[in-house]
């Protein structure tokens, strides 16, 4: 089994092509692969509970692991309590740990 890691740096309210990540991540998960989406930079803006974007909720429901970079959250004033259910606060150190695991493929978006 391959572990696919999507590093999403784009704000879904600015870049509609973030849909690519949702569709690809969900399809890979349905095929039986392990899939993680790591939100970084403006990608974390969709992680707020009040954000009107349901792509993260759909991915969480599909079994995709959702992580949000703590540094990016802090820079944008997003508190842990503001995160949507299913999104875990994480850090760049964890991302590095994942990147150097065997059978891991990383895609920056």
């Amino acid at each position: 089994m391959t572990h696919y890691v999507f590093i999403e740096s784009r704000d879904p309210f600015e870049s509609r092509d973030t849909r690519f990540v949702e569709e690809t991540a969900t399809a890979l998960k349905q095929r039986g692969d392990e899939v993680t989406v790591f939100l970084v930079q403006n990608g974390v803006l969709a992680a707020r509970q009040n954000a009107r974007d349901n792509s993260l909720a759909r991915m969480a429901a599909a079994g995709v692991s959702l992580l949000a970079d703590d540094f990016s959250l802090s820079e944008r004033g997003i508190q842990p309590a503001e995160l949507r259910p299913g999104i875990e606060r994480s850090g760049i150190e964890h991302l590095v740990d994942v990147l150097v695991q065997d059978h891991t493929k990383a895609i920056w978006h």
Binding site: S9, Q41, S72, I92, E93, D102, A106, W108
Partner: protein, 135 residues
């Protein structure tokens, strides 16, 4: 334990987006974990290490150069190369053609000149490779 090695391809020029900062954070975190890192700087990313970059004052805030402490990407590259000067090792290669196009040959110490063939070799020898493109 098998040695881990991570290769990054960077393309974003300095002072353009938050991507450079994220890339520096990934490199720093990997080196702090004892992971060897290769960087292939392509296109505008070759200017990240340009030695001619100078910190500046901020006339809007009325601060001096010293007070402003303006961070330059070349200083970040130098710091990372200091951390990765042995074990773990940071290898930073600038694309030679990209350097020539931009007149960016005056890079900080430790930066090497190469070609996409070096990137291929780096990727083949690495545990994993992350390509961080421009938009």
């Amino acid at each position: 334990m098998t040695e881990k090695r991570l290769t990054l391809a960077l393309m974003e020029p300095p002072y353009e987006s938050a991507t450079s900062t994220t890339a520096f954070r990934i490199i720093s975190a990997a080196l702090n974990k004892g992971i060897h890192v290769n960087v292939f700087a392509y296109e505008g990313a070759v200017c990240l290490a340009l030695k001619d970059q100078a910190p500046h004052a901020n006339p809007v805030k009325g601060t001096t150069v010293e007070e402003e402490e303006h961070p330059t990407t070349r200083a970040f590259v130098s710091s990372l190369l200091e951390v990765g000067n042995g074990n773990p090792l940071l290898t930073w290669i600038n694309c030679g053609l990209c350097v020539d196009e931009r007149g960016a040959a005056n890079a900080v110490d430790g930066v090497k000149r190469g070609s996409p063939a070096d990137f291929l070799k780096m990727a083949q020898e690495s545990t994993n490779t992350l390509v961080i493109p421009t938009r």
